[in-house]
């Protein structure tokens, strides 16, 4: 499959925005009391969300998890509303109710984000079912980690999705860790992709730091899904360059392992490719970088200047006032 110049530039831009957004958060987290809650980043894993989302149509749905910033930004979520939500501000995409851990942006079909590990797959079964039920030509993507693949919900969801040939792409970001636990310490299967066999479903291992490879795999899986052939499990092998959260000192991650993976930065990889293929000039790249930085700085300004919700707003949004008729 030939990937267009525009697509590559789109993915480069999307990864850069995500990186800038999160680098800024790393910085902000060092300021005591600035950012509430846990701060969970995907630095180094940007190729997954950016590659997959580049393969999607606007009507496609994504279900995300605790490590969601890249998925949502790649999907086109408004950085201002995300940043404000992370700050806990009223202007946040969820009015301060969710904070950084369950950011949901229905406007861009990022319908549900759950921080319950393994919570996503059963919900993705439901959204994909709705797509199939309405005979839409659309798919659901569910992002989750290697650790999540040990939850019972993963198993139930993949079995049901396969049984009903639902249009869902299960994207496992195998970043080699689940919390402080190394991959080999939480399962003995070499590749999570092999679990697809248990459901008679296609499974594929992809270099998760190669955004074009991810994009290709997602395109293929999407094609299978919309042609009513059912779900695919894609395992993206990547690495969590930061700790589980920003407060995590990464004592259990070998320093040279981190260094080796930092070398494999997915952004550098695509940039070098784009430069050598003449898709972008050095200047244009720097300009893009600067632009992303500006977007992030604006988002921070927006978040800082936004008001906190007033305490009683906590009481809103539990129920819909019913439309019983």
């Amino acid at each position: 499959m030939q990937i267009t110049k525009e697509k590559k530039i789109e993915m480069l831009r999307s990864m850069l925005l995500s990186r800038q957004f999160e680098d800024k958060l790393t910085e902000l987290c060092k300021i005591e009391g600035k950012i509430p809650g846990m701060m969970i980043l995907c630095t180094g894993q940007e190729a997954v969300g950016s590659g997959v989302c580049a393969a999607l149509a606007p009507e496609d749905i994504i279900i995300s998890n605790h490590r969601s910033h890249n998925h949502l930004l790649a999907r086109g979520a408004d950085p201002n509303a995300l940043m404000a939500e992370i700050y806990g501000k009223r202007t946040g995409c969820n009015k301060g109710k969710s904070g950084t851990l369950h950011l949901a942006v229905p406007e861009v079909n990022a319908l549900c984000t759950t921080t319950v590990v393994g919570g996503g797959p059963p919900i993705a079964v439901g959204t994909a079912f709705a797509q199939q039920y309405r005979k839409e030509e659309s798919v659901t993507v569910c992002f989750f980690g290697d650790g999540a693949a040990d939850e019972g919900s993963f198993h139930e969801a993949l079995n049901l999705a396969s049984l009903w040939r639902l249009p869902v792409i299960f994207v496992c970001e195998n970043n080699l860790y689940a919390g402080a636990q190394r991959y080999e310490e939480h399962t003995k299967v070499k590749d999570i992709a092999d679990r697809a066999i248990a459901y008679a479903m296609p499974g594929e291992v992809v270099d998760g730091n190669d955004v074009t490879a991810v994009y290709r795999a997602a395109c293929k899986a999407r094609e299978i899904a919309v042609s009513e052939k059912g779900p695919t499990l894609i395992e993206c092998k990547t690495y969590r360059c930061h700790g589980h959260g920003e407060a995590d000192l990464q004592l259990y991650q070998p320093k040279d392992e981190i260094a080796a993976w930092v070398e494999k930065c997915p952004i550098d990889k695509l940039r070098d490719e784009a430069l050598s293929e003449g898709l972008i000039s050095n200047d244009a790249y720097e300009e893009m970088n600067r632009k992303m930085n500006e977007i992030v700085e604006n988002a921070v300004r927006f978040a800082e200047e936004s008001p906190f919700p007033s305490p009683e707003e906590a009481l809103e949004d539990v129920f819909v006032s019913s439309r019983i008729s």
């Binding site: 109710k97 919900s153 949004d317 819909v320």
Partner: protein
């Protein structure tokens, strides 16, 4: 008016709502092809009439069933899923409690989750404690859920229709013993509002608050007292959440005496909530101590004499009332 069992009434409600709204579908274990084919059962005949696209038999996967509901609702359908027996609510509880109930709030009011989870409770069938365990107090302790427990076929039909049209997640708990007790059901279409108790019998001497299968029993006890000149008022709360406090309080203010009866275990049962409300808001009206008539604090045993000992009966209620009049 027809005389129908509660299963038949539920069946009518499902049928009417599926005809009315093409977004309504049903899913669960054995709801299409079941091990028992009886017209007294809630989903009898629906597969034949609505086809396998809208009547989905699922694998034995309660988390996936509930996740299916959450996702399909998020994507705009109106799922009605069934959890076979109430102890298996545990297996679906992450999806129901951490997702169905919370995701709207977490979205800051952007998303809606119009879904119904039908749960059957099976006490009185000798099946033992892994099939019989009343967990309504769990659901009622969870903001974001409505909890409905009808006592009559007519209420079941009207309430289920309201539940399906409600834009919020509704837990609808059916006591299977009631499937086989016929009662009148109006011929014309009607909705019964969620959140309104009904005085099933007027009385001035003592208030009995009841729901589900305990209402019939309370009515029979009241008849007995009537012969002695003691008039028992029976408040059928019908929905535990939202709870119609006003009707309960008005009754207690009138009678000055309160008995709450439920089949669930005593400690931590929903009688506690009702007691607390009365103690907060109508203490001065009380002429006598509270009495609770409930299952004892044991799992439901299988052997007939033991199971009968578990389930509250008329005599238990009669002696409780006698103690305070």
């Amino acid at each position: 008016m027809n005389q129908l069992g509660m299963g038949q009434a539920v069946n009518q409600a499902l049928r009417e709502e599926m005809m009315r709204d093409s977004g309504v579908f049903i899913a669960g274990e054995g709801i299409g092809v079941g091990i028992m084919e009886s017209p007294m059962l809630p989903t009898f005949g629906l597969l034949k009439d609505f086809g396998p696209e809208r009547v989905k038999d699922t694998p034995v996967s309660e988390a996936a069933i509930a996740g299916l509901a959450v996702g399909a609702a998020a994507a705009g359908l109106r799922p009605v899923v069934e959890i076979l027996f109430s102890p298996f609510f545990t297996l679906a509880s992450d999806m129901i409690v951490n997702h169905a109930a919370k995701l709207r709030y977490l979205s800051g009011g952007k998303s809606t989750f119009p879904l119904v989870v039908r749960i059957k409770n099976a006490s009185g069938h000798g099946a033992g404690c892994q099939h019989s365990h009343n967990l309504e107090a769990w659901a009622a302790h969870c903001p974001g859920l409505k909890v409905v427990m009808p006592s009559t076929p007519a209420d079941a039909k009207g309430l289920l229709k309201s539940a399906i049209r409600d834009d919020n997640p509704v837990i609808f708990i059916e006591n299977m013993a009631l499937y086989f007790q016929p009662g009148p059901v109006p011929d014309e279409e009607y909705l019964t509002p969620i959140g309104k108790a009904e005085i099933k019998r007027q009385g001035k001497d003592v208030t009995v608050v009841a729901w589900s299968n305990m209402v019939g029993l309370a009515l029979r006890a009241a008849d007995q007292f009537s012969q002695e000149g003691v008039e028992v008022e029976i408040v059928d709360v019908r929905t535990l959440a939202p709870l119609d406090k006003e009707t309960i309080l008005a009754s207690v203010r009138k009678t000055g005496r309160l008995v709450v009866i439920h089949e669930a275990n005593r400690t931590g049962g929903f009688a506690g909530e009702i007691s607390a409300i009365v103690m907060e808001e109508a203490l001065a009206s009380l002429k006598a101590p509270l009495r609770r008539v409930t299952g004892p604090d044991i799992p439901v045993p299988a052997s007939p004499p033991l199971e009968s000992f578990y389930i509250p009966n008329e005599e238990n209620l009669i002696s409780a009332i006698r103690e305070i009049i």
